[in-house]
Structures are given as structure tokens and as C-alpha cells.
Symmetry: C2
Subunit: 429 residues, 2 copies
């Protein structure tokens, strides 16, 4: 037993002990049916007809738990369990939308975990000083309407909403029209404005990477979210016939792109000690024909690190390497997305550590692992607004955004236990 375990069981411990793994699994299966695929995946992009059905299912489920339901201007859904005071609530939850083909856990787990915490509180007969709100943020994935995390980012800065509303999907439907349809479908739900007061926020999520599994840890204390920069590199040479053009007459855009890419990979290997992550993910080659020298190659760079200074050094290297490359064509680049690191507050991490240790001890599993998130989450935006932190559970094989996404039921259970403890502690502060 740790020093947190006291003679008398605390409200947080009591809530933790009332989390029900079977009920959680049933809830996951029930939500996964909305957009569920034969391969076990879920296709439920934001604000589609099937997502609206899933939202109605969540509203009904939350009301059955006694929650008040509210919806805001970005169609974010809030399920509120009142507290004994009017102090700002503690927020938990995540998102219920998926990638075009995603798994049943990414996002959905965090929302259902929040509802399971409320069910556990109900079972235990626990009252908290602050209200507890479970949120289902709109459009975290960003696959139908870009960028992602529109709901949480508009929540903390409502001025963003106007631009988001103008974004169109592949069928030329605007995000604004899709939100309005969702609001009409929730006409029985009380409306509220964005940027409501929040005391603190905890998001529980699958890791979507292999770190916890590799460490054989059931729970992760997320210390922050990596800084990221996205670049577009554009190599412009001259398309020409592969057979007729002598090598010394060529302006081969692919040869230039490969030379640059090789230097970037070598640089990243040298920065491995600083945990630089480099991905050259999207490539467009023109004219992309077997027997034509590529005239245009555009590729993207995704670099991430918890240390923004490492990314700053990377950008200097990129600039110098491009300037130094001698050929008959041109290379340009631009940074089209940049996000500084998110550092979660130490007192939030301490609390989550306690919550994880107690859950982990009960399950006879090892210490929680401290790690940073390489992926973005809604918590990234909430961290701009109120004390925020995250809890991770392992992803089998590190696989996510994939029908094969999976986490052991015991780990999912431990995650909700850690969440219940944390939320109740925060709700009584």
C-alpha cells in the first residue's frame, strides 16, 4: 500500500473502487455499433448522420445516469453531474468522432470513461463539491473538416469559430452547416455559450504509440504534448524524357528531393538523443510517370520534440541544407503549421501519479510511466485555459487510426480507475 492509502477510504478511493469494468466494456461496444465495421473498426467521421446517431445515444445514456445535457455553439456536448456548490466544474471527456476508418477507442474511450466515473459516483452515493462535466468535443480528428480539435479550440477561443464554420468537406458541405444540423438534431438539449468557466480538466486517452506497452506499464502520466512543425518542401526541376535526356543535362526534382531527404534522416539520427521525431509523410510527384524525369516533387516534413529548441535547430539545418544544394532547379520550403510544446502543471501530474499508483497497485501492475504525447489532443487547447493533464493507457502494438486499434480490458479499467480518483480529488478542491 502507498502512503496515499489511508485508514478511512477517501471519496476518491471510493469512486475508484466503484468503477465497473463490465459496464465500461458494454458501453464501448454499444458506442462502437454506430459506424461499426466488420473488421472491428469504426467509421464515424464528425457530424455525419451516424455521428449524430451516436451523439443521441450518448445523450440518452447520460440522462439515464441523471446528467444534465448541454450543447454549445460548436456542437460540443456536455454531460453534467451537479456538485454541492456553484464552483466551476471539473471537466473530463474526449471526442466521439473517428478517422474515416478508426478504432473503437480513440476518443470514444475518454468520453465513456467519464460517464463510467459518473456511474461509479452514483453507485457509491458520492457527492462532490464541484460539478463534474463529461464532454464530447466536436471534430477532434480533422479528417472531414480540417484542422482537427475544432471543438476544444473554439471552446477556449470562440473567435476561431467563424473561420471554422466556412471550412468545407469533400462534398462541399461547410462545417457551419454540419454544426447547425447537429444543433437542430439536439433541439431538446439546453444551449450554452462557448468558453464556460472550468476549474480543471483531465483527459483519458489511449496512447496511440508503443511506449507503455514496451515498458509493460498499464498507465501513463502524460507530462506534456510535443512541439510540432510541419513544412512543405517544393523541388522544381524540369520534366523530360527518361531515355533521351543525358544525366548531365537533367534538372531531376526527385534526385534533389532524395538527396535532401537523406540528409534530413541522417540529421534526425544524430538528434536521436534529443528525441527528435522526423516523418516525411506526404509526397506529390509530377508528372509521376515511369519514363519521365520528375519535374516537380513536393514532400512534407513533420518534426516533433518536447524541446522546442531542438526544432529550432532542425529548421536552421533545413534552411542551410537547402541553400547548399547545387543543381539546375530550385527548392523552396515553408512552415505551414507550428505548435509550441504543452507542459502540464506539476500539481496535476502529482495527483494523477497518486491516482495511477493506487489503481496500479490494486491490479498488481508496475509503476505508471511518465511520457509525453506525440499526438495532439483536445487537452492541448484546454491547457491554454485551465489546469489540464492527461492519462494514457497502452495501445497494443502502438497501433491507432486503424481498425486493429486495441487495448486490454484490464488496462481500460485501470485507466478509468485512475480518472475517477483524479476527477473526484479535483472536484473536492
Amino acid at each position: 500500500m502507498t502512503k496515499q492509502a489511508q485508514a478511512a477510504t477517501s471519496a476518491a478511493e471510493n469512486a475508484q473502487d466503484h468503477v465497473n469494468s463490465n459496464r465500461l466494456q458494454d458501453a464501448i461496444a454499444a458506442l462502437a455499433a454506430f459506424g461499426g465495421r466488420d473488421d472491428g473498426g469504426v467509421a464515424r467521421e464528425t457530424l455525419t448522420a451516424i455521428d449524430l446517431e451516436a451523439r443521441r445515444h450518448l445523450i440518452t445514456s447520460a440522462r439515464a445516469l441523471g446528467c444534465e445535457v448541454e450543447i454549445d455553439d460548436c456542437a460540443n456536448l456536455f454531460f453534467r453531474r451537479p456538485g454541492t456548490t456553484d464552483l466551476p466544474p471539473v471537466l473530463t471527456g474526449s471526442h466521439a468522432d473517428t478517422q474515416p476508418v478508426g478504432g473503437k477507442l480513440d476518443g470514444a474511450y475518454g468520453v465513456l470513461a467519464g460517464l463510467e466515473v459518473i456511474a461509479a459516483l452514483n453507485d457509491a452515493g458520492i457527492q462532490t463539491q464541484r460539478a463534474i462535466e463529461v464532454v464530447a468535443w466536436t471534430n477532434e480528428e480533422g479528417s472531414r473538416f480540417g484542422p482537427g480539435a475544432m471543438g476544444s479550440s473554439a471552446f477556449v477561443d470562440p473567435s476561431r469559430l467563424a473561420a471554422y464554420r466556412a471550412v468545407k468537406d469533400g462534398d462541399n458541405i461547410t462545417f457551419g452547416a454540419a454544426v447547425d444540423t447537429a444543433l437542430q438534431a439536439a433541439a431538446d438539449v439546453k444551449h450554452r455559450s462557448l468558453r464556460q468557466p472550468i476549474a480543471s480538466c483531465v483527459e483519458l486517452h489511449i496512447e496511440q504509440g508503443p511506449v507503455l506497452e514496451r515498458a509493460n506499464a498499464a498507465l501513463g502520466v502524460v507530462t506534456g504534448i510535443q512541439s510540432v512543425r510541419w513544412y512543405r518542401v517544393d523541388c522544381v526541376g524540369m520534366a523530360a524524357h527518361a531515355g533521351t535526356t543525358p544525366m548531365d543535362e537533367r534538372a531531376d526534382a526527385m534526385k534533389a528531393a532524395v538527396a535532401l531527404a537523406q540528409q534530413l534522416y541522417t540529421y534526425a539520427a544524430a538528434e536521436a538523443a534529443h528525441n527528435l521525431r522526423l516523418t516525411l509523410g506526404r509526397w506529390q510527384v509530377g508528372p509521376n510517370s515511369v519514363n519521365t524525369i520528375p519535374g516537380n516533387v513536393e514532400f512534407t516534413i513533420d518534426v516533433r520534440c518536447v524541446d522546442a529548441a531542438v526544432l529550432e535547430r532542425f529548421e536552421q539545418f533545413l534552411t542551410q541544407t537547402i541553400a547548399a544544394y547545387q543543381w539546375r532547379g530550385k527548392i523552396g520550403f515553408e512552415c505551414f503549421f507550428s505548435r509550441p510544446p504543452t507542459i502540464f502543471p506539476q500539481d496535476m501530474l502529482n495527483l494523477i501519479e497518486k491516482a495511477c499508483v493506487r489503481a496500479g497497485t490494486l491490479a498488481k501492475r508496475g509503476e505508471p510511466q511518465h511520457l509525453t504525447s506525440g499526438a495532439f489532443h483536445d487537452a492541448m487547447y484546454l491547457a491554454e485555459y485551465c489546469p489540464t493533464a492527461m492519462i494514457f493507457v497502452p495501445s497494443k502494438g502502438g497501433i491507432s487510426h486503424n481498425a486493429a486499434e486495441e487495448t486490454a480490458p484490464e488496462d481500460l479499467y485501470l485507466g478509468v480507475q485512475a480518472l475517477a480518483y483524479t476527477v473526484v480529488e479535483l472536484a473536492n478542491q
Copy 2:
């Protein structure tokens, strides 16, 4: 004057002297109107409606010159100027189809040059012993139906036609159906079978490369066509989240592809003295997303050289390099096209050299340049069947398969002069 110039003007010289540059330019402009674009390019893919109109224009033009017109099972068109004997004819010509966006000269020039030779013979009142046939081969380009050079390859080996007829275009139309439509549209044209006897064949074409322009030569004696091999390289790793996957856990298919490509470019540079040409032209990246580690990268290799042994060495290097690359994924490769070099017969080259020198002398331009063709041509297949050779004229900037394709009118004129001399000499052998 060369030793070929005799006191009495020969029939070949007489024909050469009757080539008319203005008439040639008018013919080029008239054919370019079929599929002509505002940017000067031509969009006339094989056996499309506009190509059938262009074929009708050629039939009408040839009949106006007194030619007999025939069409074969692959819709190749033959415009025949009879000789004084029944000996097998001399063949010239090229193709009238274009890339989706091509220029007005690639292929078309060779067909119209043949008709200009016939017009010059008519003007000069010259009879030849052998008939002269001008051919317009079907589907040289291979852009609508692959592979290219279907017409000429089926001519020399009719057993190929059945497989060609089953090939479908992007609209699911078979080559066979397109050929049948062309045959119906030419119902007034006499039908003949493939693989007719041919004494010899000369194809006049634009270079589609920069060699002649760089040498300031108006004419090129083509000594052969490069050997070529096409490979498909398939790198299979594991797609994963760019943010959440540590570098040492990755099976990054693009990192593997870039490392391999860099080694191939370095190898090609070391083989520059042997004129190895290397193009990595077509790339398919999956899932091709900014923030996803590429799980699959497939790219093509086009290698060419007149020396087949150089390509053999390249394949050994490719095999060894792939085998030596250590990572978590797999790399496979296959050769999906291979063509040995074509070497044109020396006596044909000697004759073309004479023809070019006289044309060049008349125009006060330099010696003809000997060069190999890096591109495929119908002559590659004819060379399997009868003595064959090619004449090149320069391409401005080496540009081809492009609306900007251009050759100076004087060079086009000199090319037809060289062709007229060559064809008449061959037709009197």
C-alpha cells in the same frame, strides 16, 4: 561537294532538291489542327474521335497525291506510291497519335515527311523501282492503351494483337473495340493483313533530347536504340502515427526508399562514363499523409544504356543493395519491362550519312551527328523484321511530350531532304 555528288544529278538528289519547305510547314499546321490547343500543343490520343478525323485527313491528303491507301488489322494506315516493279516496298513514316498533351511534331513529322517525299517525287517526275509506302502506325504513344508501339509490334508479330485487343483505356474501352471503330470509319480503304513484305524501313523523327542542339547539328544519324529495363521497387514497412511512434520503433518505408534511391543515384553518377541513364519516375506512397509514417512506398526505376552489360551490372548492384539494407520492413523488386539494345545496320547508316551530308552541305550546316536514341520508336520493332534505321532532327531545349516541343523549320526541311535521298536510293536497290 562529297564524293556522292555526281556530274549528272541522281534520282535521290533530284528528289532531295524537290522537297518543299513551305508545303511541309503547311502540312504540319493542317494536321496539328486536329486536337490543336491554344498553347500550341496537340491532344490527339490514339483512336479517339479526333484521331479518326486526323486519319481521314491523312487518307484524303495521300489520295490527292495519287497514293493507294490500305489499312491492316491493327488499323495501321499505309499510303503507297507504286514502283515500276513488284519488289517489296521501302517503308517510311511514323505515328500520328500524341500523348494526352503532346507537340505537333512527335510522330506527325515522320508521317508528313513521308508524304512530302511523295509530293517531291511527283513534282520531279521520278519513278522508283520499288513502291514507297508511308505508314501511320497505330498507338505508338501508349498513353491511352499500354504498352506503346502496338501497331508496329503487331505488324512484325501478329500474334501480339490478341493480347493488345483486350487492353482497356481509362473509360473501359478495349483497344480491340477502338481498332474496330477505326476500321469501320475507314470502310472505303482497302484492307490488308499484318506482316507484309518490306524491303527496308527509315523513320524520321525529332530527337526529343538535347544532343543535336548542343552539337549545333541539323541532322542526326541514329546508330541504335538504347537498351532499357524497368523495375518496380516495393518497400513495405508499417504505417504509424508520426507523433507517437519513437524513431527506433519505426518501420518507415520512405526512409528505406530514400536510402535505396540515394545509393542508386550515387551508383549512376559513378557509371556516368558508360552513359547509364537512371530515372526514378513514378512514386506511390501510402497512406501519404503529413502525420503518418509511410507504410508503403513503391517507386519505379528506368535504366537505359546502349551497352546491355552496364544494365546487367546495375541489376546486380540493385539486388545487392536491397539485400544489404537492414530495417524492420521488407523490400522487394521486379523487372517488369526489359528491352535489349537495337543496333541499326551499318550499310543503312552509311546511306543516311551520305543523305544527311548532302542536305547539310546544301544548307551550309555542320556534319551530321551520330547518336543513339534514348526513346523507343516504331523503328525498334521494324528492326527485328527488315533493314531499318532512323534520322533525327533537333528538338529545341530537348523538350518533347510537351506543348512547347519545337524544331526550326529549316531543320525540319533538312530532315525531309535527308529522308527523300535515303528512300529513293533504297527504292532503286
